[in-house]
């Protein structure tokens, strides 16, 4: 009725996550604020914290600073019917869609590998009705996390208006009470679980992103009910306190801390290692067919026990040293 009276528009697709801040507040009220040791294994973190049906979101930028080890483990544990925030997502959403882990997705960017082209297996998955879809822009999903981080149910913005991206979203329009102008209203997004990879974290889950951009991760960590924090290295608690400006993720958001050196491979970890372009080429080639895809997943994910087993397969420390050399501009003629 309220909407009729003031002529609001509304996107027609499904809103997958409850935006009510009082429900989120009630959850956050019960979450421990103790500085306790949260270090665990990837296997434990995924099996304890992610349940079939959960709505998850992944930090980083799809193939940059992504928590690959945790995503592989979600695939390996055959989680099913997950919802996903397909925000700037590339290798992360591709793995989850290809492996059949997700049945719904808020899409702002999926399937694509930026200048490398598209993933055929992702495309197959997203062209099927098996994944329920709602579209947004990257900025919209970033602001939906920001709304959650601030304990709101919505934020206004000025994009998506007039487009089919709006029509096939679950956004609404709203009139500014000060200017009478029309804005897009974005519902807050409070994921059940966020999975984020950082450079350094202490055992309590204070996470620092020491190089490169932070993308949406500070807001994502604050909006999510639970957070699995994957880190290149654990550092002493005192080191966090020595540089509190660098803490992008507060411990009180975090439920599990896992130390995974090279944990973003084949992605780029700013300041640590460059993309493994050979691997991506091989991957995108293999997933062109369902058979190729199956064989690849069998070999690199199902066929290894953990991320260390995977690292051996992709060339181990030697390979990572090469990728580090490219990142550090040690070989100016590469990459």
């Amino acid at each position: 009725m309220y909407e009729d009276l003031i002529g609001l528009d509304s996107g027609i697709e499904e809103l997958f996550v409850d935006p009510d801040p009082d429900n989120a507040r009630e959850y956050f009220r019960g979450k421990s604020r103790a500085l306790s040791n949260k270090v665990t294994t990837v296997e434990q973190a995924v099996s304890v914290l992610i349940h079939d049906g959960d709505y998850i979101a992944v930090g980083g930028f799809g193939h940059v600073r992504i928590p690959t080890a945790v995503i592989y483990e979600i695939v390996r544990q055959k989680k099913r019917n997950l919802g996903l925030a397909g925000h700037t997502s590339i290798y992360d959403s591709d793995l989850l869609a290809t492996a059949g882990c997700i049945d719904r997705c808020d899409i702002s960017y999926v399937i694509g590998y930026e200048i490398r082209g598209l993933s055929a297996s992702s495309r197959r998955a997203f062209e099927s009705k098996a994944i329920r879809k709602t579209d947004w822009s990257n900025g919209a999903l970033a602001w939906r996390f920001a709304a959650g981080a601030a304990g709101l149910s919505f934020l206004p913005s000025r994009h998506m208006l007039g487009t089919d991206t709006f029509k096939h979203s679950a956004a609404k329009t709203i009139v500014c009470p000060f200017t009478g102008k029309r804005f897009c209203a974005l519902p807050a997004l409070y994921p059940d679980v966020a999975v984020i990879h950082v450079h350094a974290a202490d055992s309590y889950g204070n996470g620092q992103i020491t190089e490169g951009i932070r993308i949406s991760d500070p807001h994502l960590a604050r909006a999510a009910r639970k957070v699995i924090l994957s880190t290149e290295r654990l550092i002493p608690h005192e080191d966090i306190r020595a540089n509190p400006q660098a803490t992008a993720i507060p411990y009180w958001c975090v439920d599990a801390v896992v130390e995974v050196p090279y944990g973003s491979h084949p992605g780029n970890m700013p300041g640590e290692y460059w993309f493994d372009e050979d691997f991506f080429k091989m991957y995108l080639d293999c997933v062109k067919t369902e058979e190729g895809s199956r064989a690849l997943y069998d070999e690199y994910i199902y066929g290894v026990e953990d991320f260390e087993g995977y690292l051996d397969k992709i060339g181990g420390v030697k390979k990572m040293r090469e990728l580090r050399a490219i990142e550090k501009l040690i070989y100016a003629d590469r990459g």
Partner: protein
């Protein structure tokens, strides 16, 4: 002369010329990254590149593969968040954005989402907006760089992912988009297109060397207007091509060599 460069090299070279020094440019993935980097090396050393993941004004040691990779924040002025740079964009500090897209119509509306009738079960699914809808909504001028053929230049896009002039003059403002923004140029392998002030319809403004109006029209699924004085685009120079091939994209990620 055509044999001297391929269509992608042509696109990148022509695209790079539109980039003004000391302007702020929000860069989409792919061809735009190469075009802006080429401009930076040739004539606009102080162009301020902005990337959606949160980086401002990097001095890139090589072509980024992603708008969020570590090259986009190499010796940058700011390495922050997506919200921060989107805010800069929404509050009117960004002059240009350079985008691509699978389909474009006569009002510059872009489709990078899907082909088909059923949104939940599309014939072809593309990546979606990424940051494109944001940039096309917020930046003052939207430049599209894309190869030209009648499967891309269509009478009606299957899905308006990112707004051009929507249904024509005034439609953006009516929808609530910031005033004074919208499509500016389309740079193709055949010509440079602009928009008619009165109708907001796409028009031919400059033909690339050796290209006829008829060829352009044949490669377009809708009727194009023509600017009063059609210009001839200067061909890519040897210097442009050299810097592009040797310094910007030696691995041929974008230009495919």
């Amino acid at each position: 002369m055509h044999a001297e460069y391929n269509p992608l090299e042509l696109l990148v070279c022509i695209g790079s010329r539109i980039i003004e020094d000391n302007s702020t440019v929000f860069v989409g993935t792919g061809v735009p990254m190469a075009a802006t980097m080429l401009a930076q090396k040739l004539h606009s050393p102080n162009v301020i590149l902005i990337f959606e993941a949160g980086s401002v004004a990097p001095q890139m040691p090589g072509l980024p593969i992603s708008v969020g990779d570590s090259r986009t924040s190499h010796k940058a002025l700011i390495a922050s968040t997506m919200n921060d740079v989107m805010g800069a964009c929404q509050c009117g500090r960004v002059d240009y954005t350079f985008l691509g897209g699978a389909q474009i119509d006569m009002y510059g509306n872009l489709n990078s989402t899907m082909i088909g009738d059923d949104y939940q079960q599309p014939k072809v699914r593309f990546p979606g907006s990424g940051g494109a809808n944001d940039l096309a909504s917020f930046c003052w001028r939207t430049v599209v760089i894309t190869p030209m053929d009648d499967r891309r230049f269509v009478p009606e896009v299957n899905f308006i992912t990112s707004p051009g002039y929507l249904s024509g003059k005034g439609a953006r403002e009516k929808a609530g988009l910031p005033a004074g923004t919208g499509p500016y140029k389309v740079i193709t392998n055949l010509c440079i297109l602009g928009y008619d002030d009165d109708t907001c319809r796409m028009r031919i403004e400059s033909l690339h060397p050796g290209v006829q109006v008829e060829t352009v029209q044949e490669n377009c699924g809708f009727e194009l207007l023509k600017a009063e004085n059609l210009e001839i685009t200067p061909a890519p120079t040897a210097e442009e091509l050299r810097v592009l091939r040797e310094e910007v994209d030696p691995d041929g990620y974008i230009i495919g060599r």
